[in-house]
Symmetry: C2
Subunit: 201 residues, 2 copies
DNA sequence: ACCTGAACACCGTTCAAGT
DNA sequence: ACCTGAACACCGTTCAAGT
């Protein structure tokens, strides 16, 4: 706050402030001018480091994928057992938990960004995705998973937990469908169904 | 355009214009003032019919759930066979198809709306959800589905197709995970996995 | 190189006024 | 009741100017 001139790392300071603003005031509360004000800098100092607002959002999104990846890793470290079921259940809880704690951040991460224009964002998102692929590969090695490409299984898992997160955030799940289940219980049940299938066998 | 004064149904005219603007210019292109201009009315005539911009978005979202419901119904009418597999595959294709054709509309539908403030929106969304519940109930009657509440199975299906749609729209699925599969093939494969599970049996 | 202030075209919303 | 125009406080972005 003191030397607003030349304070070294305005770029990452702006990103951090953006993440903070996002969790406080939500998506619509995030403006470039407010961001600059927050950091104590003129309203177009950000343009020294970002082409436009979308570029700032892309950087914030990238930060989100990093945090999500860390959350998944943290969950994998405290497993009760090493089975694929336990791994996937832990990863699912990490994902949904992150989503519910940072709904607006998730929105930016999956918003309409010209992703081709932000290679760093793509790379980080893929790195996070790869954590899921790795889990599926472990499942393959132990012979517990169906014989399908690990990448596709990871994608399937991702679509599941992401869709669940989106519906929980948007509160689009009718109460009569929730049956008093907690978010955690719904997540556990969903993964269980994904593992065993919904067809009677 | 002639008698801009008293043209009868400004409310639904605005909603239709909003849906059109959404598919043409995307989310950021949708402003109340532009909407009014498009319809040929003063920039705050919309306030005669809507409390604020969010209320307009809620109405547009509701229209989206109606269209999505119709798309699902249409898909169910041209089934090759009546099995639960065929029904769910058709519903999934309808959903993903709608999502890819109206990505910004879907975003509004699942955006952050104070859903409690828009009971009509909730009701319409639930009505669309109920179409999925009905399909699951049919599955239960034919004894082909696992013994779990139809509402929860519908929710599981919904999270699947919605998550898949979101990831396809955001282009967050790495090419190496797609394996040259078309969107339709990915959808078919995902539902197949959901039906049979990903655990080796 | 890094930052600022003035300026431009837009926005959502409010309000007094018109028919 | 329905619509309008002026006004306010905010945006994102550009540009000439300052250090």
């Amino acid at each position: 706050m003191k030397d607003s001139y030349h304070h070294g790392d305005l770029k990452s300071t702006l990103i951090d402030a953006g993440v903070k603003l996002l969790s406080e005031s939500g998506m619509e509360g995030l403006s470039l001018r407010k961001l600059a004000r927050e950091v104590g800098v003129s309203h177009n100092a950000p343009y020294m480091h970002f082409a436009d607002k979308e570029a700032v959002l892309a950087a914030i999104a990238e930060q989100g994928f990093l945090l999500l990846g860390e959350a998944i890793d943290a969950g994998q470290l405290q497993l009760s057992d090493q089975s694929i079921e336990a791994r996937l259940q832990a990863a699912a809880q990490s994902y949904v938990n992150f989503a519910l704690n940072h709904p607006d951040h998730l929105m930016v991460m999956f918003g309409k960004l010209d992703s081709a224009a932000y290679p760093d964002l793509i790379e980080t998102a893929h790195a996070t995705f790869n954590k899921l692929v790795t889990i599926m590969q472990v499942g393959h090695q132990s012979g517990t998973l169906v014989d399908q490409p690990a990448e596709q299984l990871a994608m399937l898992f991702w679509t599941n937990v992401h869709g669940l997160s989106a519906l929980l955030i948007a509160q689009k799940i009718p109460e009569y469908a929730r049956q008093k289940l907690t978010n955690e219980a719904i997540t556990t049940w969903s993964i269980q169904m994904l593992l065993t299938g919904i067809l009677r066998n």
